[in-house]
């Protein structure tokens, strides 16, 4: 117990001071009065006056003794430690992460009674974090101090006495300009000093791509200007650097999109490159520079950027060997969709036809096969070859290019007819390799079968999103077809949706009629019949007013173009992908999906599968988190499929440092500005122990107040002393 005095039992401090001031003023008046009078007896008057004033004041205040028991509580200190990837960059001694640990140790050692709470900042709100913990926690891909401070200001808990920020200063937020004011805004009135501790100040020799900015969203076939900012610091000699932008292609070497020269002046250069991405969906573009000699961080000389390429309109090349009702129905459907641009070429006349007219009387144009399949092919999103014989129209020589087009992300639909598949001389060609069914060379008569039949749905088809629209109209019912092309086995990985009820492949399996397959970046569909128009024109078609035909082609073209509505699942990255950091994928199967969900992650360039997850059971389309593990830098493709159905994929890139390594220079100026503008101090890591700490606060847990005398005693003594003073004044002639 600690004994102490209290001036008053119940008066507030201000009233107590007012009473004392009044007493002092009374004594002052008494002194002035006694100095002015000439007669004796002043000592008695003064003594009684002082005594009376004192007792009167004590009667008003009523002092007391206080017996208390309590403890000293240190100030609450929030330490915000940078947990971004940039801490793995070189610092003054070792990495910045090592410097952070040392600085934190110094701070803890100097904290004394201060209550330290260490939080990490990176993405979003500040989170509890122990940098020295052996637990493997993924570094953040951002360094958002602003969000962390804002989260502190919003916490409904004891406000901190001060905040200490440990960072290299290379922050996403606040930006370089007005960093201090931005921190004030982030704290939203939480007026506490913010001290900053710099984890590095040495600029290492490093050339890097500091930023890549795209002017707008990436749209397929539309030129996209990229502004590339390049930095060169730390005494590195960089004059002219070659900058290139390449697209990572599934299963092939990167394709050069654009290149230029960066003229480095005063440690920086800016280059404008315009790229055109022809394929929609997630695309990986590598932007890189030549590493100059002496570059200590070569990992940031190339950036892998994931572009989610949108499609303004689907550009379809529709080539038909002859006009028929099936061609007509497909054309009418393509033309009815405002989001589809159709470029159509139909062979209306062959050399065997007797037109009985001069060429000038014919409204026919030459089929520009070379122009279409060499110059313009990349500008199309999908190619439909409908009952088209490759041999007479010189398409054979372009089939390798058409196959590459598919492998690089294009879509292909081969629609049946006598001149399609083996009957169209596609067997044994490069194009046959990208089809989802095998083709065998055959005589014309053996290339197709003319027995009428109704295709059968497979089990895969019943859960395939591409056929859901059609099945919503017709269920398992399909119209009778007049015949079918003879095709071989379904290729591994392809999905057979319809089969022939009687014909068999060499292995004895039902012959595929409709099959979907992927090859490289692209997709291909084999439809070995020429009668889908019967979904509109037949007794069955009339039941749906012809909408079943549109529903079939909606699904097929949608799947070909990776429309999310027809994908078996959506794949998202839980966080950005950093090399060496565990990666998780969030997979959302299509509602209603059921079965075993398979996940495979492969290198884009070499297609080597790096991760193959054990199947997980999907029920009701609930999202699943798939732990992929740690990956090396590069472009990857994650492929997901349910059961034996068609797969969906997402391309993504893993970088060693990402944005956090783009600019390796520490930014002490920004940390200094933050400290100065928020009443704190800026220190370097070596001085972390000198962070100013507020004093500890005593907190009482038990307190007893005892008045020195009861109130009536003080009142009696005051009255007696005032009376004595009055008598003394009267005897000396004072009023």
């Amino acid at each position: 117990m600690v004994r102490s005095w209290a001036l008053s039992v119940d008066l507030s401090r201000s009233l107590a001071y007012a009473a004392i001031a009044l007493a002092l003023a009374s004594l002052l008046l008494l002194i002035v009065e006694l100095r002015r009078r000439q007669r004796g007896g002043g000592v008695v008057v003064a003594a009684t006056g002082i005594f009376a004033t004192s007792l009167l004041s004590l009667a008003v205040l009523r002092p007391a003794t206080v017996m208390s028991r309590g403890s000293m509580v240190g100030p609450r200190l929030i330490v915000l430690a940078d947990r971004s990837r940039s801490l793995d960059l070189p610092g003054d001694e070792g990495t910045r992460r090592e410097t952070l640990n040392h600085a934190l140790q110094r701070l803890k050692a100097a904290a004394g009674q201060a209550r330290l709470r260490v939080l990490g900042f990176g993405e979003g709100p500040a989170v509890p974090w122990d940098p020295s913990s052996p637990v493997d926690v993924a570094p953040a891909v951002h360094s958002d101090l602003g969000a962390a401070l804002a989260s502190l200001a919003a916490l409904p808990e004891e406000r901190p006495a001060s905040i200490v920020v440990l960072s290299d200063g290379r922050l996403d937020r606040p930006g370089e300009d007005q960093a201090g004011a931005a921190v004030q805004d982030a704290l939203r009135g939480l007026r506490v000093p913010v001290h900053t501790v710099s984890l590095a100040h040495t600029v290492v020799p490093d050339a890097s791509i500091r930023a890549v900015r795209a002017a707008g969203a990436a749209v397929a076939h539309q030129p996209l200007p990229l502004t590339i900012q390049i930095g060169c610091d730390g005494g590195l000699s960089c004059d002219d650097l070659t900058v290139s932008a390449r697209e990572l292609i599934d299963g092939g070497p990167p394709a050069l999109l654009a290149s230029g020269i960066a003229h480095v002046a005063q440690g920086t250069a800016t280059v404008e490159l315009t790229i055109t991405l022809d394929r929609a969906g997630s695309r990986i573009v590598e932007v890189g520079i030549q590493s100059p000699s002496g570059d200590t961080i070569p990992d940031n000389d190339r950036r892998l950027l994931a572009f989610d390429v949108a499609r303004d309109r689907v550009r379809v090349l529709h080539v038909a060997g002859r006009p028929s009702y099936d061609v007509r129905a497909l054309r009418m459907w393509l033309k009815s969709d405002a989001s589809v641009d159709v470029v159509a070429f139909f062979i209306l006349r062959t050399q065997g036809d007797d037109v009985n007219a001069g060429e000038d009387d014919l409204a026919l144009i030459p089929f520009p096969v070379h122009e279409l399949f060499s110059e313009h092919l990349p500008s199309f999103d999908a190619v439909v070859l409908q009952d088209f014989n490759a041999q007479p129209y010189e398409l054979l020589q372009h089939l390798p290019a058409l196959a590459r087009y598919v492998e690089h992300g294009g879509g292909l639909i081969m629609v049946g007819g006598p001149d399609s598949f083996a009957g169209g001389h596609y067997a044994g060609t490069r194009l046959a390799d990208v089809l989802p069914v095998a083709l065998e060379s055959a005589t014309t008569s053996a290339a197709f079968d003319l027995a009428p039949f109704k295709p059968n749905y497979t089990d895969v088809a019943r859960s395939a999103p591409a056929l859901r629209p059609l099945r919503s109209f017709n269920g398992d019912a399909l119209p009778e077809m007049a015949g079918a092309n003879r095709v071989g086995e379904a290729r591994p990985g392809s999905s057979v949706l319809w089969t022939h009820p009687k014909l068999r492949t060499p292995s004895g399996a039902p012959m595929p009629i409709l099959a979907l397959g992927e090859k490289g970046d692209g997709r291909a569909i084999a439809l070995a019949i020429d009668g889908t128009y019967r979904l509109a024109y037949s007794a069955l078609g009339s039941e749906t007013a012809g909408r079943a035909h549109a529903a079939l082609w909606d699904g097929l073209l949608g799947w070909l173009m990776r429309d999310p509505r027809y994908e078996p699942a959506q794949i998202e990255l839980e966080h950005g992908c950093l090399a060496g950091v565990p990666l998780s994928l969030k997979v959302r199967p299509l509602p209603g999906s059921e079965g075993a969900l398979n996940v495979e992650v492969a290198h884009l360039e070499g297609r080597q599968v790096v991760v193959r997850q054990q199947p997980k059971t999907v029920k009701g389309g609930e999202p699943l988190i798939i732990d992929v593990g740690k990956l090396e830098p590069g472009g990857y493709s994650a492929r997901v499929w349910v059961g034996t159905g068609p797969s969906t994929r997402k391309d993504f890139a893993c970088e060693r440092g990402g944005d956090e390594w783009a600019d390796s220079r520490p930014d002490e100026a920004r940390l200094g500005d933050i400290a100065r503008s928020n009443g704190g101090e800026f220190l370097r890591a070596a001085d972390a122990g000198r962070v100013p700490l507020p004093p500890a606060t005593e907190v009482a847990v038990e307190r007893h107040v005892n008045p020195l005398l009861p109130s009536w005693a003080w009142t009696l003594l005051a009255a007696l002393s005032v009376g004595a003073h009055w008598i003394a004044r009267r005897k000396t002639g004072l009023a």
């Binding site: 144009i365 006598p418 009339s542």
Partner: protein
């Protein structure tokens, strides 16, 4: 007919000849005749399709097969307007030379669905001198498609260039310089001819033309056949020749023709 070969058309010939297409056997046109152009005569009421013009649909199909790459059913069979079979194909051909009985409710319902599914009807007046058939068909089609009325189809319409360049329609008679049509959703779903196209196409079993063509004789018959081919191509390809990629080329050629 002239068979001049211009420099502009060299590519076509080179493409086809260079690959020895002539040496190839005649191709199969489809799986059977499925999907082939089928000029089905449309029968309404108690009408039947007989007389000299009964051979016209087969001749139409034969001319299409001989002149173009399009497949056609060489022995078209009539279809009744109140038969569900009307919906199994997107084309029918209504011809007559006498007053037309009012459509029954079932015929109206069937035709309405036929048009709703994108069907095309060619109406050929075999007696344009009287115009009675055309008048009655328009009256009845107004009951089927009350929201649409016939309009003139001049040479700017794609049907005049789907295969041949045609400057005006011809049939057994020279008739009016334009066709008429009911256009719905940008497509002519009904095409009216007052030229007796069927009369120009009709042949006897011995291969002789059944009906003389006036006033242009055989030249006019050839033009009538070209119109029939173009109508078939319109049914099979719709407005393919209006596509932007073709328009500049066709416009250039037309300018040359005019000069």
């Amino acid at each position: 007919m002239s068979r001049r070969s211009s420099r502009r058309d060299f590519l076509t010939d080179a493409t086809l000849l260079g690959l020895g297409l002539l040496a190839l056997p005649r191709r199969a046109h489809a799986f059977g005749e499925d999907g082939a152009f089928n000029p089905r005569p449309l029968l309404t009421g108690r009408s039947s399709f007989e007389g000299v013009r009964a051979t016209a649909p087969a001749r139409w199909a034969r001319e299409l097969v001989n002149r173009t790459s399009a497949p056609a059913r060489l022995a078209p069979t009539p279809v009744r307007a109140d038969d569900d079979a009307l919906w199994s194909e997107p084309f029918a051909f209504l011809s007559g030379d006498a007053p037309l009985a009012p459509f029954t409710d079932s015929e109206i319902a069937h035709l309405r669905r036929f048009f709703a599914e994108g069907g095309v009807l060619f109406v050929d007046d075999a007696a344009p001198e009287t115009g009675v058939f055309s008048r009655d068909v328009k009256r009845e089609l107004a009951r089927v498609l009350p929201d649409a009325a016939p309009i003139a189809l001049g040479t700017e319409h794609v049907v005049f260039r789907t295969f041949y360049f045609i400057r005006r329609p011809y049939g057994r008679l020279e008739g009016p310089p334009k066709l008429e049509g009911i256009v719905r959703g940008g497509n002519a779903q009904v095409i009216f001819s007052s030229h007796d196209l069927g009369g120009a196409l009709a042949q006897s079993p011995g291969g002789m033309w059944s009906v003389p063509v006036t006033p242009g004789g055989e030249v006019q018959r050839e033009r009538a056949i070209r119109l029939a081919v173009n109508i078939a191509m319109y049914v099979l390809c719709s407005n393919y020749k209006d596509d932007q990629v073709h328009a500049p080329f066709l416009m250039r050629r037309r300018a040359v023709d005019v000069q």
